[in-house]
């Protein structure tokens, strides 16, 4: 499987086009329709229909075990990795149905990157962490690879911190730096969407704030879907919030509304109780 790589300039042009388009129209980047997830026959999430707007940050909130992470994983088919996990329903991205068996998942996951709760850089050097996936996706030109690496590290604000020690082990970085490296690693593949599963929850407050600021900056170029347990964080960074809840051991989507509305004028009883801290 080979990916088409386009030049930087083309990317930048495409990006600015997208930005111009995105602001007024709220173009849909990802559309999930009737997603139901079962683990070995036991339903974990039922019938979620959710549209994710391009160049916005969508936060998925709700108590533990209500299927937020499962839903997030279904958006780039990371659910394929879990034995016994079955996803029904459709997710549309750029006119393709992600859950079609013939979808090229390797290419899909370049377009829809994922960041995990615990930073997971590989036990390689900083450079190799970014370089290896690029090589595997067919970017054979070393100069182009270097350019991509520099650009991605600059985007996450890590370039000035690591440019003199690119060949040192990535695991020697601090937790916050490791998480930014993981984000850079995903960005180097030039995705349009980033899925983040509680990206700050394993970090100390200061690193967490740095990553949070980074996520806000990413909105300019990328669509971000972020699972968070931190209501304050959702309020600070998200454009819209989707609240998940569970009933009889099975998760479902309560509502998906703009952040202002959910925090200041919640209508739904569950939402009100959760936001005010009375439940969850």
């Amino acid at each position: 499987m080979k990916l088409e790589f386009v030049s930087y300039d083309e990317c930048k042009r495409a990006d600015s086009n997208i930005r111009q388009l995105a602001q007024p129209t709220h173009e849909v980047a990802l559309a999930a329709k009737g997603i139901t997830i079962t683990y070995s026959g036991a339903r974990a999430l039922r019938d979620v229909t959710l549209s994710i707007a391009r160049n916005e940050i969508t936060a998925l909130i709700g108590p533990s075990g209500c299927g937020k992470t499962s839903f997030l994983s279904s958006l780039n088919r990371m659910t394929d990795l879990i034995p016994g996990c079955k996803v029904t329903g459709h997710v549309y991205h750029d006119g393709i149905n992600i859950h079609e068996p013939k979808t090229d998942v390797q290419e899909l996951r370049c377009h829809i990157g994922m960041i995990f709760q615990k930073p997971n850089p590989f036990p390689l050097s900083i450079r190799r962490n970014l370089e290896m996936p690029l090589k595997e996706h067919g970017l054979t030109n070393a100069a182009q690879r270097y350019e991509r690496i520099e650009h991605a590290l600059t985007e996450v604000g890590l370039w000035s911190e690591v440019k003199d020690r690119l060949d040192q082990p990535a695991l020697a970085l601090s937790g916050g730096q490791q998480q930014r490296l993981c984000i850079a690693r995903a960005l180097a593949l030039e995705p349009s969407i980033l899925l983040m599963d509680e990206p700050c929850s394993a970090l100390d407050p200061i690193s967490s704030a740095v990553v949070e600021d980074l996520i806000i900056r990413l909105r300019e170029k990328y669509t971000v879907v972020v699972v968070t347990h931190n209501l304050g964080q959702a309020k600070r960074i998200a454009d819209s919030v989707a609240l998940f809840w569970f009933q009889d051991g099975c998760g479902y989507l309560v509502e998906h509304t703009p952040t202002d509305a959910i925090f200041n004028a919640a209508q739904n009883a569950i939402t009100k109780a959760y936001i005010s801290g009375a439940r969850g």
Binding site: M1, L81, V105, R109, C110, F116, F122, E136, L189
Partner: protein, 292 residues
């Protein structure tokens, strides 16, 4: 064996006694090891002082009754046969561990693991017998006599394959699942994930397992003795018969006396030193996790 709970329960009530028992057993095993090493040194001492260590390497041949003590051909044969065995067994063992961890369905993987563990339990003389009756005649058809370096390396590789397969399998299972997740999320194929992420992450422990297997190959006696032909010479082709240090000891100890006997102990001392060095290296590679 613990025969009944009550008779030993005092150990848990009284930490001091448990501590002493454990100290005593630790000292006993260490003492045994030191005693064996001292015994080897003591028995080889007369010849080491009268002839000197260098002549064991420089002497023109192994004619102990004529006072020629050249161990070099046998030392060379031992190292070559072990190296070949590792070169054959390591790729197969690693491949089998990858199959077990990533390709095979869970049930087949479990059955396969038990099979490999069983393979590790077959006595070496049984491998030797099979080699003698099947492999040696087979090689002999192409290139007589059949008993050869090739036969010995193949039998040895079969014997150390389980060690490499099992240690590699264990090494792979200690690689954090988050690496697998991370690689998958970056759109890497299964092959790239295994080769570029999982194996590099496990390489220290895999290396330690291979070194342990090499140590076992160096020390293996019976099976090699049965298929190697036992001619004292430096093997120059795969089909040459050859004799290893261990086989030499087993063959000659029964009738050796005086300097001849002592020089057999010298070969024992050499082997012990090589194996210990390999085991130490393995232990350091794995950060002290592998038990030799």
């Amino acid at each position: 064996m613990i025969s009944s709970k009550s008779s030993f329960s005092f150990l848990w009530r009284n930490d001091k006694i448990l501590g002493r028992v454990l100290w005593a057993s630790a000292c006993l095993s260490t003492a045994l090891l030191i005693l064996i090493a001292m015994f080897l040194v003591k028995e080889s001492w007369p010849v080491l002082t009268s002839i000197g260590i260098t002549r064991f390497i420089t002497d023109a041949g192994w004619y102990p009754l004529e006072k020629l003590f050249g161990l070099a051909p046998m030392l060379g044969a031992t190292v070559i046969v072990s190296t070949l065995a590792v070169l054959i067994a390591a790729p197969l063992g690693i491949a089998s561990a990858i199959f077990c961890s990533f390709i095979a369905p869970r049930r087949i993987a479990q059955a396969y693991r038990s099979l490999i563990a069983l393979l590790a339990g077959i006595p070496s003389v049984a491998y030797g017998l099979w080699g003698l009756t099947v492999l040696v005649p087979l090689i002999g058809q192409f290139q007589p006599p059949g008993a050869s370096l090739l036969a010995a390396s193949l039998i040895l590789s079969l014997m150390i394959l389980p060690t490499i397969a099992l240690t590699t399998d264990a090494a792979i299972s200690t690689v954090p699942k988050s690496y697998l997740q991370g690689a998958t999320a970056l759109g890497l194929t299964r092959e790239a994930t295994i080769i570029k992420v999982i194996l590099p992450a496990a390489r220290a422990s895999i290396g330690a397992g291979i070194l342990l297997a090499a140590a076992r190959a160096l020390g293996e006696t019976m099976a090699v003795l049965m298929v190697a032909g036992n001619v004292v010479q430096f093997p120059t082709s795969l089909f040459d018969p050859m004799r290893t240090l261990t086989a030499n000891m087993a063959l000659e100890m029964a009738y050796a006396t005086g300097d001849h006997r002592a020089s057999l102990f010298v070969s024992g001392l050499m082997l012990t030193a090589i194996v210990m060095a390999l085991a130490t290296l393995a232990w350091r590679l794995s950060g002290g996790r592998v038990h030799g």
